[in-house]
């Protein structure tokens, strides 16, 4: 069997054990057997490719909004009687919970919020505390890009909003640096990031069709 012939039939047989004249050819032909080994290596490595990243918080925000608008979510109603005060538990903004959870991977707040990893993906705490955050999609569009996406008449408002939230993030970060044990300081930082996410979310809502 010649190489050309073998490579012609290869797509059909590569997923099985080689037999008969194909096996014989592989035994005697180094270049074809290397080819097969390369292709299998590629396929095996591909199988090990894990998730490539996270969608930005706006995706969940949009899904939730659509679900509410379509009446698929029935929000819980509290009965209109005296309630025993509950211990603090719920998140401030349902629609921002994924944002906060994702944001929690950023910088100083990571130590505080050991988020559960998604299936099969080990969460390397050490790695995340020392490196700057991995680039994420739309949420990481830098401020300039966001301003470019926003309609011109609103640009000044958004620039002002971004300036405001960025300053608040710096303030909160500084405070946390000075008081690393202070839970409240962490809350302020996370809230500042949430507000920044709000700016992005509002901007994105406008730019989407």
């Amino acid at each position: 069997m010649k190489c050309a012939e073998f490579q012609e039939i290869l797509p059909e047989i590569i997923d099985r054990e080689a037999a008969g004249e194909h096996a014989a050819h592989l035994q005697t032909c180094t270049s074809c057997s290397e080819l097969v080994s390369d292709l299998k290596a590629i396929s095996e490595e591909a199988m090990r490719l894990g998730p490539t990243g996270e969608p930005s918080p706006r995706v969940w925000a949009n899904i939730q909004r659509a679900l509410e608008e379509e009446g698929l979510i029935r929000p819980e109603r509290q009965p209109g009687v005296a309630l025993v005060p509950k211990p603090r538990r719920s998140s401030p903004f349902r629609w921002l919970v994924p944002a906060t959870a994702a944001l929690a991977l950023v910088g100083a707040v990571m130590v505080y919020n050991a988020r559960q990893p998604s299936k099969g993906q080990p969460f390397d705490l050490a790695k995340t505390t020392s490196k700057p955050p991995e680039p994420r999609p739309a949420a990481d569009i830098d401020d300039e890009q966001l301003l470019a996406e926003v309609a011109a008449p609103m640009r000044a408002e958004y620039a002002s909003g971004l300036k405001s939230v960025n300053q608040s993030i710096r303030d909160a970060q500084q405070d946390l640096d000075q008081n690393p044990e202070d839970d409240d300081a962490r809350h302020f930082l996370m809230d500042a990031y949430e507000q920044r996410e709000t700016v992005y979310e509002l901007a994105m809502a406008r730019s989407m069709p």
């Binding site: 679900l67 029935r74 538990r89 349902r94 299936k119």
Partner: protein, 201 residues
């Protein structure tokens, strides 16, 4: 503010989340989203190589899923169902854009797909053991769309040829030959990038 940590210890198991989602429980939808969003997003991103589009498709896939959740009867794994839906959403999008999802013809007859060069005994060493994930991801990203679709579905996502044939609407033989071409092209790309890396100071 409490600072919004998700209720880690109270996370619902999937089966229960599905039941509750059918009743319209907002938190259940969110749990299902959180469980599966990375994989769905990755699938969309690998097939479109565009983060904004991948996000829109992720959103659409989950919305379709949530709209139909009442009809899920647990016959197959939930994640399988969701991924099928995501694949269909992506393919529909690719079709809408006029991109040929898979070239119908086996032979390269001047369409946009670049035929990988046939190999008759190259001298450079085997790839096995030297493929790193980042280079592979980059190489996949630069595959022509038709090759990339089949490769992602088969080698990354683990669909079988008969499933791909059904989802994509081609023949099993076509699926196999496109997969082969994709892998050949990747081999070329990986060898090239490895050679480039070796020559850098």
């Amino acid at each position: 503010m409490t600072g919004a940590t998700k209720k880690q210890n109270e996370r619902l198991p999937e089966a229960e989340a599905i039941e509750r989602a059918k009743q319209g429980d907002a938190e259940a939808f969110q749990v299902l989203y959180d469980m599966h969003r990375r994989r769905v997003y990755s699938l969309c991103l690998r097939m479109t190589t565009n983060t904004a589009e991948a996000e829109d498709l992720t959103q659409e896939a989950f919305l379709q899923l949530f709209r139909k959740i009442a009809t899920f009867r647990g016959e197959s794994a939930f994640s399988t169902w969701l991924h099928r839906m995501a694949v269909n959403v992506v393919l529909m999008q690719l079709r809408k854009k006029g991109l040929q999802v898979v070239p119908l013809d086996d032979t390269t007859d001047g369409n946009e797909e670049e035929a990988p060069k046939k190999d008759f005994g190259a001298q450079d060493p085997a790839l096995a053991g030297s493929i790193d994930r980042i280079r592979l991801e980059k190489a996949v990203e630069s595959l022509p769309p038709g090759y990339r679709t089949i490769f992602v579905l088969h080698d990354v996502e683990g669909y079988e040829h008969n499933e791909i044939a059904e989802i994509v609407g081609c023949s099993i033989g076509n699926s196999k030959s496109q997969l082969h071409k994709a892998r050949m092209k990747l081999r070329e790309l990986l060898k090239t990038s490895r050679a480039e890396k070796a020559t850098k100071p």
